[in-house]
C-alpha cells in the first residue's frame, strides 16, 4: 500500500452548543509518524474536537483540512480512504465475526453493490496479521474482551488504508496487560508511518507513548509540545486538581507518582 505523507490540520476551530462555547479557537495538526495524545478533563470537549476533526461536526468558525484540502470539499468515501476513526470498544447489536468487522473497512473502496475483491481480502488479511488477531478472525465480535474488540476496530481502520487514525480513549476499560500491549501496537504503527491522535485520561500513558501531548482546557489548546515539557507537576495539579510528582526513571522515561 502506498504511504504518501498525510497532514490533518485544524485552524481556528470554534464550536458552540446551546449557546455555550465548547471549542474556542483550536489550532492543532497531526502528521504521519506522530502519536499525539490529547488530554483534558471530563467535559473539556475532547469528543467534540474529535468529531470536528473527523468532519462529523461542522465547526461554527475555522476549518479542518487534510493535506491542504478542506474536509468539506472531500467526499465521505475519499475522506475514509485517508482518515479513519477508531471508536471506543463498544458492543455491536449483531454477532458479526471479527473478519466481517474488519472487512467493513473496505466499504469506501467498494460502494454498496460491489463484493469484496482480491485487493480487499488482502488488505483485510494484512490488517488482521498486523495486529496479531488472526486467531480471533472467525470469533463473533460480541464475545470478545474489550481489548480484543479495540484491536479489531484498529484493524478495521488499517484495512481502510487510511494513514491518519483518530482514536477515542483507546485504552479505557482495558486491563493492565491489554493497555500496555495496545500502547506497544500504537508505537509500532507510528514507526510504520501512521499518524495517531488519541484522547486519554492517563498522563502516564501520554508520557510513555506519545511524541506530542496537547492539553485541551477551557475550549483552547493550552499547550502542545513534547510530553516532558507538557506534563509537569504544576500543569497536572492545575488541570486535574491533584498533587503529583513526576519522576525521571532509567531509560529517559518519566512516571507520575501520586
Amino acid at each position: 500500500m502506498s504511504m504518501e505523507p498525510g497532514v490533518l490540520r485544524a485552524c481556528g476551530l470554534r464550536f458552540e452548543r446551546a449557546g455555550r462555547t465548547v471549542l474556542d479557537g483550536i489550532d492543532l495538526s497531526l502528521a504521519s509518524g506522530d502519536i499525539l495524545a490529547l488530554l483534558g478533563v471530563n467535559g473539556a470537549g475532547k469528543t467534540t474536537l474529535l468529531r470536528c476533526l473527523l468532519g462529523l461536526l461542522r465547526p461554527c468558525a475555522g476549518q479542518v483540512s487534510l493535506d491542504g484540502a478542506p474536509l468539506a470539499s472531500l467526499s465521505r468515501q475519499r475522506l475514509a480512504c485517508r482518515l479513519a476513526y477508531v471508536p471506543q470498544a463498544h458492543v455491536a447489536p449483531f454477532p458479526f465475526s471479527v473478519r466481517e468487522v474488519v472487512t467493513l473497512g473496505r466499504l469506501p473502496y467498494q460502494g454498496p453493490f460491489g463484493a469484496a475483491g482480491a485487493t480487499d481480502l488482502d488488505a483485510v488479511e494484512s490488517a488482521i496479521d498486523q495486529l496479531g488477531i488472526g486467531a480471533l478472525a472467525e470469533r463473533p465480535y460480541t464475545e470478545l474482551s474489550g481489548g480484543e474488540r479495540q484491536l479489531t476496530l484498529i484493524a478495521r481502520a488499517l484495512a481502510q488504508g487510511a494513514r491518519l487514525l483518530i482514536m477515542d480513549e483507546p485504552v479505557s476499560g482495558l486491563d493492565f496487560g491489554h493497555q500496555i500491549r495496545l500502547l506497544r501496537h500504537l508505537e509500532r504503527l507510528a514507526a510504520d508511518g501512521y499518524g495517531i491522535l488519541k484522547t486519554t485520561h492517563h498522563p502516564d500513558h501520554a508520557l510513555a507513548c506519545a511524541s506530542r501531548v496537547a492539553v485541551l482546557h477551557q475550549g483552547r489548546i493550552e499547550v502542545d509540545d513534547v510530553p516532558d515539557k507538557v506534563l509537569t507537576p504544576e500543569r497536572i495539579r492545575r488541570l486535574y486538581r491533584v498533587d503529583v510528582e513526576v519522576l525521571r526513571v532509567s531509560g529517559g522515561r518519566s512516571v507520575v507518582i501520586y
Binding site: 473527523l54 476513526y85 463498544h90 455491536a92 449483531f94 458479526f96 467493513l104 466499504l107 467498494q110 472467525e138
Partner: protein, 350 residues
C-alpha cells in the same frame, strides 16, 4: 441446560452461501408446487408439471383437461400462491432491514406504525362503505401517513435521532390503534364490525391476480433495493459516526430503508390485512442459517419469508373445513419458532 456450542463450530455448521441460496430457491419452488396441488381438488406435482409444459407449448393436453387445470391452478390457486410469496418476502426483508437500521434484533416492520396506520385506513374504508379498491387505497395512504407522523415527531423533538424515531413510532402507532378502536366502536356491529375484525386477522382469500401483479412491480423494486443495501447496513449497525467515517451516506440509507419498508408494509396490509410475526421471526431464523452479515441476511430472509408465509397460507386453508385467518396461523406458528430461536441466540443478548 444445553452447553453453548463453541463459536467456531457454530460458524462452520452454517452452510456456505453458494449452497444456501440455491437450496432456499428450491424450497420456494417445492412449496409452491405443493401449494398449487393442495386443495379440495388435489393435483399431483407431476400433473402440475405436465400442465406447465402444456402451458408453454411443450406438450399437448386434452382441451377439457387443460381448461379444468387452467381454471383450478392459474385462476383459483396461483393468485393466492403468488400473493403469499410476495407478501412473505416483503414482510421478512423489511423486518431484517429495520433490525439493522435500528440496531435492535427485536424490531418488527411495524416499529414506525405503518401496519397500525394501514389497518386503521382499511377499517375506515370499510366504514365509509367503499368498494375494495377504495379500501386498499385508504389503507395504503394511512400507512404512509402513520410513518410520516412518526418521522415528523422525531424531527420536531430530537433532530431525527434513532431513539426519537422509535418514540415517534410508538406515539404514531398508539394514535392509529386508538383511531382503529374508534372506527370499530362506531361501526355497525352486525355487518361492518365482523368484516373489519375478520379482515384485521389477515387473509389471502380475496386477493386477485391483477392486484398481485400490480403490487409486484413496486414491491419487487423495494425488495431488490433493500437486498442491495446489505453492506451499508452492516456499517450502520455499528453506529452512525462509524458508518459515516466508513464512507456510508447514513441519512440516505436510513430513510431509504424506511421508505422501502413503509411501501412494502402499507401494500401488504392493503392486500391481505394484518399478518404479524413474519417480519420479526424470519430474520432470526435466517441469521441462524447465514450469520448476521446483511448482504447475505437480506436475500436469505426474502426467500425464507416467502416460503414461510406460503406454508402458513397452506395450513390456513387446509387445516380445517373452513379457512383460518392467516394472521392467526403465523402467530401460532411463530411463537414456537421464536422460542426455539431464543434458545439458540440468547447467549449473545446477555
Amino acid at each position: 441446560m444445553s452447553r453453548p456450542v463453541s463459536p467456531c463450530s457454530a460458524s462452520k455448521r452454517r452452510p456456505a452461501a453458494s449452497i444456501l441460496l440455491p437450496l432456499l430457491i428450491l424450497l420456494v419452488v417445492v412449496i409452491t408446487l405443493v401449494a398449487l396441488g393442495t386443495g379440495r381438488y388435489p393435483v399431483s406435482i407431476l400433473d402440475i408439471l405436465r400442465f406447465s409444459a402444456g402451458l408453454i407449448g411443450w406438450s399437448q393436453l386434452e382441451p377439457a383437461q387443460f381448461d379444468l387445470m387452467y381454471n383450478l391452478l392459474v385462476e383459483i390457486r396461483l393468485p393466492r400462491v403468488l400473493a403469499a410469496l410476495l407478501l412473505g418476502a416483503a414482510l421478512a426483508v423489511s423486518g431484517a432491514a429495520f433490525q439493522g437500521v435500528f440496531r435492535n434484533p427485536l424490531v418488527s416492520p411495524n416499529l414506525l406504525g405503518v401496519l397500525s396506520g394501514s389497518a386503521f385506513g382499511a377499517a375506515l374504508g370499510m366504514l365509509l362503505g367503499g368498494n375494495w379498491l377504495l379500501i386498499q387505497l385508504v389503507a395504503f395512504a394511512c400507512g404512509l401517513v402513520a410513518v410520516g407522523l412518526a418521522l415528523a415527531i422525531a424531527h420536531a423533538f430530537g433532530q431525527g435521532s434513532l431513539i426519537m424515531l422509535v418514540l415517534g413510532g410508538i406515539v404514531s402507532g398508539a394514535l392509529f390503534a386508538a383511531l382503529l378502536s374508534t372506527v370499530k366502536y362506531v361501526a355497525d356491529p352486525y355487518n361492518e364490525l365482523p368484516a373489519i375484525t375478520l379482515w384485521l386477522m389477515g387473509s389471502l382469500a380475496s386477493v386477485e391476480i391483477r392486484e398481485v401483479l400490480w403490487a409486484a412491480i413496486p414491491m419487487g423494486a423495494a425488495i431488490v433495493a433493500l437486498c442491495a443495501s446489505g453492506r451499508w447496513l452492516d456499517a450502520l449497525a455499528m453506529g452512525d459516526d462509524e458508518a459515516r467515517t466508513l464512507g456510508v451516506p447514513v441519512a440516505l440509507v436510513r430513510y431509504g430503508v424506511i421508505g422501502c419498508a413503509t411501501l412494502l408494509g402499507a401494500l401488504t396490509v392493503s392486500l391481505a390485512g394484518m399478518i404479524g410475526w413474519v417480519g420479526l421471526i424470519v430474520p432470526h431464523v435466517a441469521r441462524l442459517l447465514c450469520g448476521p452479515g446483511h448482504s447475505r441476511l437480506l436475500p436469505v430472509s426474502t426467500l425464507l419469508g416467502a416460503s414461510f408465509l406460503l406454508m402458513a397460507d397452506l395450513l390456513a386453508r387446509s387445516l380445517a373445513d373452513s379457512e383460518i385467518p392467516i394472521g392467526i396461523v403465523t402467530e401460532l406458528l411463530g411463537i414456537p419458532v421464536f422460542l426455539l430461536v431464543l434458545r439458540r441466540v440468547r447467549r449473545g443478548w446477555n
